[in-house]
């Protein structure tokens, strides 16, 4: 009996403390409140460069959605720092799903994506990846989509170009021994012989490695015509420098991870080739031209594939939510997924793309060459 008042007091205090959050969650569901789009990118640490690039693409898409009055309700971008690690990603995703009530979350990084996929799957929240290219990201969940070509789709395009146009017959591979590296190794093993080439050496490097002198020496011994680098983040620049500093003068090539500024502005990377989904800013496609012009105006920077991917990832929400609003349907993860499955094909930056059954956006690919000082040129579109 004596405890009852204490319990009541504690209950009242607890209820009072939780009131702001309860109101917040309820209020967000009310009509007219913004849709919440979450971002779960590395915003600190060695991979923060990616997070900033991804966010810029998404921010531009949201400004275009607002400018075009595509939706009846505004969109609020809620950023969480994943640090590119599973544990902070899980915390961030839980906040986005359970506190912010996000219906659409932009994700990146393979491990981060895998860690949050079960949370989004259970909550039926759409997760869109535009940065990670590990082939094991395909089919993670019906609510997990990829708007970037996964690595196994990029390699055949580059092999075809190198063997046809650069007379490459012998290729060496420097790769991080992860699902991405394994997939690229497998692709090179099968695609090179088909094109009349051969994989003359494959050298795995630890993810945290920073010195590549010994690897460069072994690469030189294989006398390759080209060296494929399957890494990501800051390590890519270190591999490029390591190879060049140690006398590897042959063509360097990679997948879309070479799109970042730190690689494109590296003097040693001049002449390097990399694949991305088709992205010709000078083409006649109005969506692509508008994206490129507005991106340059807003950020004083030439956009790259990652900016376009996350622009597309965010813009896709506008396209799908507009469909649902026009049909007076509720906008949630399930209805957005159904709308995607009904439509499948979308006009986005880079051209028309079509989703397959596993939520992977299939687009045309292109080969880019780094020209120095951040400039690139499309050598095969």
């Amino acid at each position: 009996m004596n405890d009852a008042p204490t319990i009541r007091r504690r209950g009242l205090v607890a209820a009072g403390l939780s009131l702001p959050f309860i109101r917040s969650a309820a209020a967000q569901q009310a009509s007219g409140e913004p849709y919440v789009m979450g971002t779960l990118f590395p915003m600190s640490g060695p991979n923060a460069e990616y997070g900033e690039a991804f966010t810029r693409g998404a921010q531009l898409a949201l400004s275009h959605i607002a400018a075009d009055n595509m939706l009846r309700r505004p969109i609020r971008l809620q950023a969480e720092d994943s640090q590119a690690l599973p544990q902070p990603s899980v915390v961030g995703m839980n906040k986005l799903v359970n506190v912010d009530r996000a219906v659409w979350v932009l994700v990146s990084w393979t491990a981060s994506s895998k860690a949050v996929a079960p949370i989004g799957d259970r909550a039926k929240v759409i997760m869109v990846n535009g940065g990670a290219v590990g082939p094991d990201l395909s089919g993670l969940s019906p609510y997990f989509w990829n708007v970037i070509a996964l690595a196994h789709l990029e390699v055949p395009v580059l092999v075809d170009y190198l063997t046809r146009h650069r007379n490459v017959k012998r290729m060496a591979l420097v790769y991080v021994d992860d699902p991405l590296g394994d997939a690229i190794l497998g692709q090179l093993r099968t695609e090179l012989p088909k094109a009349g080439g051969q994989l003359v050496g494959s050298f795995s490097v630890p993810r945290a490695a920073q010195q590549f002198g010994p690897v460069a020496a072994r690469v030189r011994q294989t006398r390759p015509d080209a060296v494929y680098i399957a890494s990501f983040g800051a390590q890519q620049s270190q591999i490029i420098k390591g190879l060049r500093d140690n006398g590897v003068t042959q063509i360097l090539c990679s997948y879309s991870a070479f799109s970042i500024d730190s690689v494109r502005q590296l003097p040693e990377a001049v002449g390097a080739l990399y694949t991305t989904q088709k992205l010709d800013f000078e083409s006649g496609d109005p969506i692509t031209r508008r994206f490129a012009a507005d991106f340059r105006a807003r950020y004083n920077q030439t956009p790259v594939a990652y900016h376009a991917n996350y622009y597309n990832a965010a813009y896709l929400f506008g396209l799908l939510a507009r469909q649902l609003e026009q049909a007076n349907e509720e906008v949630n993860g399930e209805s957005l997924r159904q709308a995607m499955l009904r439509t499948r094909t979308f006009d986005l930056v880079g051209g028309r793309g079509t989703f397959d059954d596993q939520g992977n956006l299939m687009t045309q690919m292109q080969v880019n060459e780094i020209k120095g000082a951040g400039r690139t040129e499309i050598v095969q579109g």
Binding site: M43, G45, T55, D81, Q83, P86
Partner: protein, 291 residues
């Protein structure tokens, strides 16, 4: 909000187990291990494989994880018997590096860098159960065991070893046995935390068991107060809830959110160590310079 707080509480409970068990060897026995994440990882992979291959029973996963992590604790105990202080730090660093490499390369067991996905949700004797109550129960048991062990002759032996190992040996204490048992207990506890983590996140890969996480666990212990029962838990709550709380700051721009959070956390930790060098619940007379 409740689901979010529940997830945060689960993580606090899991990392609380890690901090409490690390504190047992660091705070009571003076074994400065920076390889605690290794045993966290061993438990996580063991628990994940049990759930994937047999049954996602949380108790079974925890028992197997504790057995494997505790059994392999000899890898840490052996160098602890021969070296101490900064030399043991170097030895445990080596163990951490070897373990991370093995976690990355033993793909049939660990999934390599890609990790293990699709770990089923936990059950208890066939009934679906949340990880939070089990983690809280495990944390309570470990704190109770720590308190009982620390108060008894075993705890006094460990403290004696920490303060003067040669003197403890001269007084007839079995230093080797005490260190081995302490390390075994701590590593088994870390294994339990690993199994709970795997079942909670449904995904594990090597990136959760790197030296960064070992250092994070050590920071939890030191900030809370080494050699205290509640200090590591308080340190855990602080280090996990501070970033979570900062995520609610509405004025942070989207592209700067991570950097600002990291600066605030770093400053808070530095100031805390300046004004509370022995940790939040540590002895105030410890840790400060006397000059």
């Amino acid at each position: 909000m409740i689901a979010y707080l529940s997830n945060l509480a689960t993580q606090v409970a899991i990392f609380g187990i890690l901090a409490a068990t690390l504190n047992f060897i660091l705070g009571y026995a003076g074994i400065f291990s920076i390889a605690h994440a290794v045993f966290f990882g061993l438990g996580a992979y063991a628990g994940a494989q049990i759930a994937l291959l047999l049954v996602p029973d949380v108790v079974l996963a925890c028992i197997v994880a504790a057995a494997i992590a505790g059994g392999l604790s000899l890898c840490l105990a052996l160098p602890a018997l021969r070296v101490r202080g900064e030399y043991f730090v170097a030895a445990s660093l080596g163990l951490q590096m070897v373990a991370v490499t093995l976690f990355s390369e033993l793909k049939p067991l660990t999934g390599g860098i890609g990790g293990l996905v699709g770990i089923p949700l936990p059950t208890l004797f066939g009934v679906p159960v949340g990880v939070l109550p089990v983690a809280l129960a495990a944390l309570a048991l470990i704190l109770l065991a720590t308190a009982l062990l620390a108060r008894g002759s075993f705890g006094r032996t460990l403290t004696a070893i920490r303060d003067a190992e040669s003197a403890a040996e001269a007084l007839g204490k079995n230093v080797a046995a005490a260190k081995t048992l302490a390390v075994g207990f701590a590593c088994a506890g870390a294994g339990v935390a690993g199994a709970l983590y795997a079942l909670h996140t449904s995904f594990v890969n090597v990136e959760s068991f790197t030296m960064d996480y070992s250092v994070l666990m050590m920071a939890m212990v030191i900030i809370g107060g080494t050699g205290t029962l509640w200090g590591p838990l308080i340190g855990t709550v602080l280090l996990l809830s501070l970033p979570a709380a900062l995520a609610f700051l509405p004025f942070l721009p989207a592209t700067e959110v991570g950097a600002v959070q990291q600066i605030i956390i770093g400053l808070a930790m530095t100031l805390l160590m300046i004004f509370r060098p022995a940790g939040l619940v540590g002895d105030l007379s410890r840790g400060q310079t006397t000059a």
